[in-house]
Symmetry: C2
């Protein structure tokens, strides 16, 4: 029996979504026990409770010696406000845990990876139950937590370098901050959602300046691109290639990750 | 007679807007001669012509010994793609010129300031003629070019530190790149437009990590904030204060700059 603690460092989830995931887990993954922290349902302005509430719930989950994995409930925005204090509050009990999430949870995963605490994993989150095909996304993370490796991003099987996966915006914002992990020698996967292509281009301008020495970059899905008043003139993959070339970064092709229910799993390292 | 060369490192302008500004300048500023480079009307995808066209027009204007000032026509997005090559192409003739603009033109201003080339100036651009009260914005820049200092940002008169002014997104994206100027000891003014407050918070998280050693920060207008599905929970000024406090940066209050026709002038330095 593995215990999974769920907390929300960014934005809150609905009880109904939590219930659906609990039901699915109970029916299909009897070896997992999900503990959904009440903080996941808290709300203050944009966030799942105040900075103090979100920080305290995360630290409680991560430092609980009975817990095997901390699963972030949902992205949105907010984790960067608490991530530094969160890392400072961790004890030895956090060391062997898995930490799973993506999108805004990347601030936590990035900081944990930088500090070599636990095992950060890019993986679908509880709130993905709302997506079309969302149950499959949830099953992928729960199966991974049960020891099933079939949900891994396909390029990992042949990859010899350590790998990380991030939302493009999140990794761009991490650059130069006290949460940015050293990524030299890594394959870096990025994906994006709901950004104009000009903003994607701008993020690549910024991010590639922070990725010196990486082993290469893979592009996940860039989805739900809003319609602009005129076409940008190149596709997301051309944008990625262009900026990689300017910074002599190897562009390695696609990654099977994104803000959708087919988002695959990428354990960091 | 001062010669002002207008070019567009980001997005194109309409001939009608150029004509309105030429007419206003001819009527009210007979000591100024405006040369609008044809590249300002070029269009390729998102941009005012290809990277090569935009680069070449800028270098031509900046290296022309007959030209006293280079006025950027419009923001949008695109200057960061050509700014490094642009700086590399400048000759001694660029050294004594004024370079005026804001918003996306900040990539050019920032790079020029970093390289100590010419005199970068945050100022209204030609395309501001389209705004409500746009003629006043145009008059402010043209009057400044005629030697009138009444359009300067008001806090400058009592300021003892060097000052710069940037769009928040632009300066955040500059951080850690080869275009980022050293801002130690400077008062940094930032303004933003059309960004959600959570994105403003995220940009401050990122930017304040890159502003160590500045003399202080002033916040210009944060305008046209889109409505989100829920209120963020704090105002732009509270966000700025919060992140300044976290990084021990002095928050100095408001700056009279923004994406509007009352946007004041800030000569860098």
């Amino acid at each position: 029996m593995a215990r999974i603690a769920v907390c929300a460092p960014s934005t809150p989830i609905a009880r109904e979504d939590a219930d659906r995931v609990l039901t699915l887990a109970a029916a299909e993954f009897p070896d997992l026990m999900l503990d959904i922290h009440p903080q996941c349902f808290a709300s203050q302005g944009h966030f799942a409770g105040s900075d103090e509430e979100r920080l305290s719930a995360f630290v409680e989950c991560a430092n609980d010696p009975q817990v095997d994995a901390v699963w972030f409930a949902r992205g949105g925005y907010g984790a960067c406000r608490i991530a530094e204090d969160a890392l400072a509050g961790l004890t030895h009990a956090a060391q062997d845990k898995l930490f799973l999430g993506y999108s805004d949870a990347g601030y936590m995963l990035g900081g944990l990876y930088r500090e070599r605490i636990g095992k950060p994993v890019h993986a679908p989150m509880l709130a993905d139950i709302r997506r079309e095909g969302g149950e499959d996304a949830i099953r992928r993370t729960l199966a991974f937590l049960s020891g099933d490796r079939s949900g891994l991003e396909p390029s990992l099987s042949a990859e010899k370098h350590p790998v990380v996966a991030f939302n493009l915006m999140t990794l761009a914002m991490l650059g130069g901050t006290r949460l940015m992990p050293g990524l030299a020698g890594h394959v870096v996967m990025v994906e994006e959602v709901s950004e104009y292509l000009y903003a994607v281009d701008r993020l690549f301008f910024h991010l590639t300046a922070h990725l010196g020495g990486i082993a290469g970059l893979r592009l996940g899905r860039v989805s739900a691109v809003p319609e602009n008043d005129r076409p940008f003139g190149s596709e997301a993959s051309e944008i990625a290639r262009y900026w990689c070339e300017r910074h002599a970064i190897a562009f390695l092709g696609e990654a099977d990750i994104g803000h959708d229910s087919t988002n695959r799993i990428v354990p960091f390292g």
